[in-house]
Symmetry: C2
C-alpha cells in the first residue's frame, strides 16, 4: 500500500461524506445538556408571550407624558395595578397610570412604562410624572426576543446551558438528538500491558486506551474498551471485527507506522467492505494515521505515541462527535519563542499560556517529543499552517485550547 500523506481537512472530508448518520432519539430537554441536536429547532412560541415591562413603575400612554418636567409634571390617575404573573384585567385609558412590576404584563392601551424613580405620589390615586416617556420606553413587545417559527438552535449544535435556557423559554420540552455514539477503543502493541498490570522488563502500560476512552467521554461519546492486544493479525482482526459490529466507531492505537509491522492497516483492510481512505496525514505529530470506513462506520488507526494519538483524536475524531467544532474560529495568540516547521504539513506544538505585558503569550513546552509528562502541562496547541516554514517569537498564531 502506498504511503501518501493527506491534508487533515481533506482526510476529514473524505471520511465524513462516507459515514452513516447516527441514530436519532427524542429526549426531555432537561436531560439534553451536552447532547448534539439532530435537527434545527424552531421556536413553538413567541418570547415573551406578551408585552412586558422591563422596569418597576407605571404603565402609561406615552402621549400623556409629553412635555412633563419636575416643574410641570403630568398628573395621571392610578387606575389599576398589574400583579406579577397576572393578567391586567382591564384597559388603560387616556390619563391613566397603572402600577406595574418588572416583567409585568403591559395593559392594553399602554405603550410605555415610567420608572418609579421618575414619579411622585401626588394625592390619593394620583401620580405626578416628572419626565416624559417615549413610546415603547421600558417595554418589550411580544415576540421581540424570539419570534415563533424562527430557528433558535441548529442541527449539529452541542447544547450548552444557555441553549437549554433559550429552548425552555420558547416552550421546547423535548428534543431530537443524536444517540451518544458508542466508540470502541483497542490498544495494540507487543510491548503493551493493560494499565492495571505490573509491566515486566521491556513492557509498558497502555496509555492510549484509557486516554482515548476519556477523550471519547469528554466529547459526549460512550467509550467501550476492547482491551490491549498483541501484534498478531488473526487476534487483532477478530477483536476489530467484533468492535466494528458492536460500536458506531472504532479507534485502534499503536502499530500504524510504516515499518516492519503495518498490522493495523492489514487488519482494517481485511474486514469485509472496508475502504481505506488514507494512510498517512500531512501532520506533525500524527503522520502515521490510518482512516477507513467499514459499513458506514469510521475506523481509525491512531499513532502509538499518546501525544500524537490525542492530537489526531482532537483534529479528526472529535469533530465527528461534535460537528460544530469545525465552525469554531481559532483563537490567536503571540508566540513566546520561534518555532520551525516543514512546509507540506500542518505542525502542532503544545503550549502553556502566560500573561506578558497585558498580552497572552503561548510558550512552547520543551522536551523530547516522546514524553508523556509534557502532555499534562499544556493548556493548548499552537498550529503552524501547511505552507509555513516556522513562526517567529512575537508572531500571532492559531491557538486551540485543550
Amino acid at each position: 500500500m502506498l504511503f501518501t500523506t493527506l491534508a487533515v481537512a481533506a482526510a476529514r472530508e473524505r471520511m465524513t461524506e462516507r459515514l452513516k448518520r447516527l441514530t436519532v432519539e427524542e429526549i426531555p430537554l432537561t436531560a439534553a445538556s451536552g447532547r448534539v441536536l439532530a435537527e434545527d429547532i424552531h421556536a413553538p412560541d413567541d418570547v415573551p408571550a406578551f408585552d412586558r415591562s422591563t422596569m418597576d413603575g407605571f404603565a402609561v400612554r406615552a402621549a400623556d407624558t409629553f412635555g412633563a418636567s419636575e416643574g410641570l409634571p403630568a398628573y395621571l390617575k392610578v387606575a389599576g395595578e398589574v400583579l406579577m404573573g397576572g393578567s391586567p384585567g382591564g384597559i388603560l385609558n387616556q390619563g391613566e397610570a397603572w402600577r406595574i412590576p418588572t416583567g409585568g404584563m403591559l395593559p392594553e392601551g399602554a405603550d410605555a412604562v415610567v420608572m418609579v424613580e421618575h414619579v411622585e405620589e401626588a394625592g390619593p390615586d394620583i401620580v405626578a410624572v416628572l419626565r416624559p416617556a417615549a413610546p415603547e420606553e421600558n417595554v418589550v413587545r411580544r415576540g421581540d426576543d424570539v419570534r415563533a417559527g424562527t430557528v433558535v438552535a441548529n442541527e449539529g449544535k452541542r447544547l450548552r446551558p444557555q441553549e437549554v435556557g433559550l429552548l425552555s423559554a420558547c416552550g421546547v420540552v423535548r428534543v431530537r438528538v443524536r444517540k451518544r455514539p458508542v466508540v470502541g477503543v483497542i490498544g495494540t502493541g507487543d510491548e503493551l500491558v493493560s494499565a492495571e498490570a505490573i509491566p515486566a522488563p521491556g513492557q509498558v502500560r497502555d496509555v492510549n486506551t484509557p486516554a482515548l476512552a476519556a477523550a471519547v467521554e469528554a466529547s459526549g461519546g460512550v467509550p467501550v474498551i476492547f482491551g490491549t492486544v498483541q501484534d498478531e493479525l488473526p487476534v487483532l482482526r477478530d477483536i476489530l471485527a467484533r468492535a466494528v459490529g458492536e460500536c458506531d466507531m472504532v479507534l485502534l492505537s499503536g502499530g500504524s507506522s510504516v515499518g516492519t509491522r503495518d498490522l493495523t492497516l492489514q487488519a482494517i483492510a481485511s474486514l469485509p467492505g472496508a475502504e481505506v481512505l488514507f494512510h498517512g496525514l500531512a501532520l506533525k505529530p500524527g503522520k502515521p494515521t490510518v482512516g477507513a470506513v467499514v459499513d458506514g462506520k469510521a475506523v481509525f488507526g491512531l499513532p502509538g505515541h499518546p501525544g500524537s494519538a490525542l492530537l489526531v483524536f482532537e483534529l479528526l475524531v472529535r469533530p465527528l462527535l461534535e460537528p460544530e467544532l469545525l465552525k469554531r474560529v481559532p483563537l490567536r495568540v503571540r508566540l513566546g519563542r520561534s518555532l520551525r516547521s516543514a512546509p507540506g504539513r500542518e505542525d502542532y506544538f503544545r503550549v502553556r499560556l502566560v500573561e506578558k505585558g497585558g498580552e497572552l503569550v503561548a510558550e512552547p513546552i520543551l522536551g523530547k517529543s516522546g514524553l508523556i509528562a509534557t502532555l499534562a502541562r499544556a493548556d493548548g496547541l499552537v498550529r503552524l499552517s501547511i505552507d509555513a516554514t516556522g513562526a517567529e517569537a512575537g508572531e500571532l498564531v492559531d491557538l486551540f485550547l485543550i
Copy 2:
C-alpha cells in the same frame, strides 16, 4: 439589611473559606475522566520503567562508533536482538550492535542507538555504522519522563484525557476524587411556571432552573431540581430547608433584587445557622446576588434574568465545582466596538468571535439586556475591570469562552 456591593473576588474568597470540604471517594482511574482530584498524585513508578530506544536501529556503545563515516564505517558484530516487549536477556559488549525497535529496552552496556538509516548490512552478522553516535543519542533513560515520587497531578485538578494518560503511564489505577457535588436548583417568582407548563397571560416559563441545572451538570455536579415556587416566604423557606438538608449546595434564582420583595434573602437568612456573606455584587450584570453559608454549604440567591444568573454561576458557582478555573489565565482579544462601563464594578459583555485581518476580534452582541436569544449567540464574555470606564474599539481586553 444594608445593600453593600462586594467585589467578585472578595465574595468568592469570603465564601470559599467558610465551606465544608466535599466528601472524598476512591474510584478507578478509568471512571475518573472529568472528576476533580482530592489529593496530589505522586507517581508510584518511574516512566519509562527502563532505558528505551526512541528509534528503530541498533543499540551500541557510542565509543565504538566514534569517527565512523561513509568512507570509513565502524564495523560491529550483530550479537543480539531486542524484541518489542521483551527483556534483552544479555549484556552488550564492546564491538557489538543489537537490533532494537522503537520503544525496545536498551541492553545493559549500550549507551546509544544508531538509526537504521545510518547503518548498512556488511556481511553475516556484521553491520557498518556510517555515522558516529553520541552517548545518549536516541535513548530515553528510566525515569526521564516521570521520576517516581514526583507530583504528576495536583489536588483540585479536573482530569482531562491527557492526565488520565499520564496517570495510567505511572501505574496509578485508582484515584481519590471529590464526590460529585449535589446541587439543588430552585426557581422563584410569582410569574413563573415550570418549562413544561403552558403559561397563562402574564406568566412566563422558568428558564433559570433548566439552564442552571445544565450548567451544574456541565461543571461536573449533579443537579437536583426542586421546582419552581411562588414568592411566599413559608413555602420558599420550607423548600429551601429541604434542599439544604439534601444537597451540598443550593441555587435559588429570581427574587433577589432589592425592591418590594427580598424574600430570597429572608428565606435564606431564616435558616438555622445561616450566615449571609454578601447581598449585592460589584458586577454588571449580576448585582442583585445573595451569597450565604448554611451548615458549611453554599447557598446562592441568583438574579432573575437568565443572562445574569448564568454569569454569576460562571464567576462564583462554577469555581467551587472546578477550583482550577481560578488559576486560568484570561484570554486576550481585540474589541470590535467601543464599550462604556462604570468604575466601581466589573462589567461583562457577551461577544461573538470573528476573524479580522489575521486577528481575533470580539464583537459585542447588541440588543436589550433582558433578551434571552442573545445568550445563545455568544461565544464568550469580555470583561472590563472594576476601575475601567470603558474600552475602545481595537483595545485588548480579557475574554472568557463560554
